[in-house]
């Protein structure tokens, strides 16, 4: 009998054997060689209109009638990662890759590609340097350089259908752990894999679990940090949206390993789709007996609850998160005691990041040795990065630890638009630092990044070019941290604003070299005295930009000049009379009425009225507005 979605709705799996039997049936029911259409429904593509593309494709298929060989229905998936090229349409089995697809393209895709097996050239990816059209996903440099372990299923499965997840191998690891392994052996496997936390600090996961497991009996908890507050990071969002079962499975394994019967997922409220898909995953897993009482007949009970964030970056900090789950203000607490001894509700707790949990599922499925074979000696496995900023291929990438920074940005990322190098790459979010072009050969792993003055962080990787001002970047991060500081400890509460004030003065061309020396001593005090890593790492942005871009700071202070043309008080906007057509688009956009001129003749900006808002530059279609 072939298992269908309706059948799984009535099943309750009572053993590993039953799970594998179902998996076999589901796999047999789908022919991998059959043509099928996949449309990306990750948040990025949805914002770019992929839902409309799906509807158009459905209509085109219906209109095309009976005589085409294609899997009925369009598979909508989570984020494929190549967000800057969405909406994305992939056609299996060849993995034909169409980008920036519009609803109006649907007819042609069905008639030309599905029916006749021909390419729609204009929708194919074009290599930015060679101009060559590339037909399949595997050949696109963005994907070719990646090693997709955590992201393996995302883009292949419909995240709202547990049948798809099962086909892809979901819960094989959990079933193995619960049925054939002792909790101690599960912890050993995670230790041997070398997995280090993917949330930012990189603490060895298995060792953290051991610390909680050593408490005999009693209530314990596992938690998933899905707060993902670093600006520029969306790895966890994509995992939860695109493969929520990976996280659920990981937590079941973790709960079993340490002896916890309850798990909490703390998701930031700004991720409604992730929450929706997670809720569906929990519902489906429960219905199949993969969650809840006596999972797969093992005798192990485990349930998961979802808590939403309420807009506080500091709640991404382990102890602050736990306070928030308890219904309290998100203020960190001193350690010791560590959460593994006294965590949520005062009980031994293990908190791990979304990506860490997803890795746990893979490790129990494929084995610790397999995982330890990826990456470097001290940084095993892969890392998912959100590659954003001034880079051609903006999106989500997963690479083996130890890959060179240059390979990520220039190969997978397709390089920097209009330039043959990057000015800096920021990693680790507000807690991290900037790496200059001189560090392009740096292997990207936990320890190398720290040695270079930055850190891995959660995976945000922001590429900057010559139009980005490093003083402005440091000021931006400090502004963010000042806003998000919980206010409990004064090194952070008072120190971070002081740092920011100094940078604000620099950005106005004020300040002295003495101020720079003062920054260093303030930084030491803030690092030493802060209660949590928000304050503890706050000085990193300043320290790392000073380390590599001191000349830029000095240009601001000593020459009253912003070389990148960003800091408002140090720049002037002007109109190039050669390029200006007198169309008055800028004059209409100017909120200060600072632009004047006769119709169809070159206009000019009154500097005394100009507030440097940049709206004139944005409205000019002729590139006539310039910044100095």
């Amino acid at each position: 009998m072939q298992a269908t979605a309706k059948d799984t709705a009535e099943l309750r799996l009572g053993s590993l054997e039953e799970l594998e039997k179902l998996r076999g049936e589901l796999r047999a029911a789908e022919d991998p060689n059959q043509t099928r259409i996949i449309v990306c429904h990750g948040t990025g593509c949805i914002a770019n209109g992929s839902a409309g593309v799906t509807e158009a494709l459905k209509a085109a298929l219906a209109a095309a009638g009976e005589d085409i060989e294609v899997m009925p229905g369009i598979k909508t998936t989570g984020c494929h990662g190549f967000c800057s090229r969405g909406p994305l349409v992939i056609i299996k089995p060849k993995n034909i890759f169409y980008q920036q697809v519009k609803p109006g393209d649907a007819e042609e895709i069905v008639q030309k590609t599905i029916k006749a097996g021909e390419m729609v050239e204009r929708l194919l990816y074009e290599h930015p340097q060679t101009g060559e059209k590339i037909e399949t996903t595997e050949d696109i440099p963005f994907y070719a350089g990646q090693e997709r372990v955590v992201l393996a299923n995302i883009g292949q499965i419909d995240p709202t259908k547990i049948e798809d997840a099962l086909r892809a191998g979901a819960y094989a690891g959990a079933a193995k752990a619960l049925t054939n392994m002792e909790p101690k052996e599960v912890i050993e496997a995670v230790i041997n894999s070398g997995l280090r936390g993917r949330g930012g600090a990189g603490f060895p996961t298995g060792i953290k679990w051991n610390l909680a497991a050593k408490h005999e009996g009693g209530q314990k908890y596992v938690l998933c940090n899905a707060d993902e507050g670093d600006p520029g990071a969306f790895m966890d969002r994509s995992v939860m949206e695109g493969d929520p079962h990976a996280v659920v499975e990981g937590m079941i394994i973790g709960g079993y390993a340490i002896g916890a019967d309850t798990g909490y997922v703390y998701v930031r409220a700004e991720y409604p789709l992730a929450i929706k898909h997670l809720e569906k995953a929990l519902e489906d897993a429960k219905a199949l007996g993969l969650l809840g009482e006596n999972i797969l007949g093992s005798g192990f009970n485990f349930d998961i609850r979802i808590n939403r964030g309420a807009g506080a970056f500091v709640c991404g900090e382990e102890t602050a998160l736990m306070r928030s789950v308890e219904g309290k203000v998100g203020e960190p607490v001193p350690r010791p005691p560590y959460p593994s001894d006294k965590g949520l509700f005062g009980k031994p707790s293990v908190l791990n990041n979304v990506e860490t949990w997803a890795n746990v599922s893979r490790i129990l499925d494929k084995g610790a040795d397999w995982f330890a074979g990826l990456g470097t000696e001290k940084s095993k496995g892969t890392k998912v990065f959100a590659l954003v900023g001034k880079v051609n291929n903006v999106g989500l990438v997963e690479v083996p630890m130890g890959i060179k920074l240059r390979d990520i940005v220039m190969e997978i990322g397709g390089g920097v638009p209009g330039s043959d190098h990057f000015k800096a790459v920021q990693t680790g979010g507000p807690s991290g630092g900037c790496l200059p072009w001189e560090d392009a050969e740096l292997p990207v792993d936990f320890d190398s990044l720290i040695a270079a003055g930055s850190m891995m962080g959660s995976g945000g990787m922001i590429v900057m070019d010559e139009r980005d001002c490093m003083v402005d970047v440091a000021k931006y991060f400090l502004g963010f941290l000042e806003e998000e500081s919980c206010g409990k400890c004064f090194p952070c509460r008072l120190g971070v604003p002081r740092l920011r004030e100094t940078l604000k003065r620099f950005s106005k061309g004020e300040g002295t070299v003495q101020d720079i020396d003062d920054l260093y001593s303030m930084a030491e005090a803030i690092k030493a005295g802060s209660l949590c890593a928000l304050g503890g790492t706050a000085p990193n942005a300043v320290l790392s930009t000073l380390r590599y871009f001191r000349d830029e700071y000095e240009a601001h202070i000593l020459e009253h000049r912003c070389p990148a043309g960003v800091c408002k008080d140090l720049i002037t906007y002007s109109i190039d009379p050669e390029a200006c057509t007198g169309c008055r688009a800028c004059a209409r956009a100017c909120p200060q009425d600072a632009i004047t001129g006769e119709k169809k003749k070159p206009h000019s900006i009154d500097e005394s009225l100009c507030i440097r808002c940049g709206m004139c530059m944005e409205s000019c279609k002729f590139g006539a507005v310039q910044v100095q």
Partner: protein, 136 residues
């Protein structure tokens, strides 16, 4: 909103969760979503239900960014101030108008107008959207 409507709706919300302190934030979130703000009457009802002292509940309500103790406007516009968006000029857009990171960095700069995502938004485009909303 009529006073009676608030009384009826809020009781339904309160009853969704057990009367324990750990449900404080759940309740505040649901009330914020239903009424666009948390009134002092609502806060009192929540405290009665959960047993959390009003001073503590007030601390929670003022600590988290997503709670507002004053009614918000009818049309909500969020401009992402995340790093990627900042580098693409979102700070200027926000200044020209006025969230934390929305996690949609590839579409920088991103704004959300009444729940609809606007990718690669520009100040002129957003101003037009705001004007249209004002006309409605």
């Amino acid at each position: 909103m009529a006073q009676t409507a608030i009384d009826i709706d809020i009781d339904e919300i309160i009853e969704r969760y057990p009367g324990k302190p750990e449900y404080l934030i759940f309740l505040l979130q649901d009330i914020q979503a239903a009424f666009n703000y948390i009134s002092s009457e609502a806060l009192t009802l929540v405290c009665d239900h959960t047993g959390v002292p009003e001073s503590q509940a007030y601390a929670v309500a003022t600590f988290y960014n997503s709670f507002s103790l004053e009614p918000k406007g009818e049309n909500l516009i969020h401009v992402c101030l995340g790093t990627a968006c900042h580098l693409k000029g979102s700070g200027l857009i926000a200044e020209n108008l006025m969230v934390n990171c929305l996690g949609a960095c590839a579409l920088a700069p991103v704004a959300v107008v009444n729940g609809e995502y606007q990718p690669k938004v520009t100040s002129p485009k957003l101003m037009k959207t705001v004007q249209k909303l004002g006309d409605e």
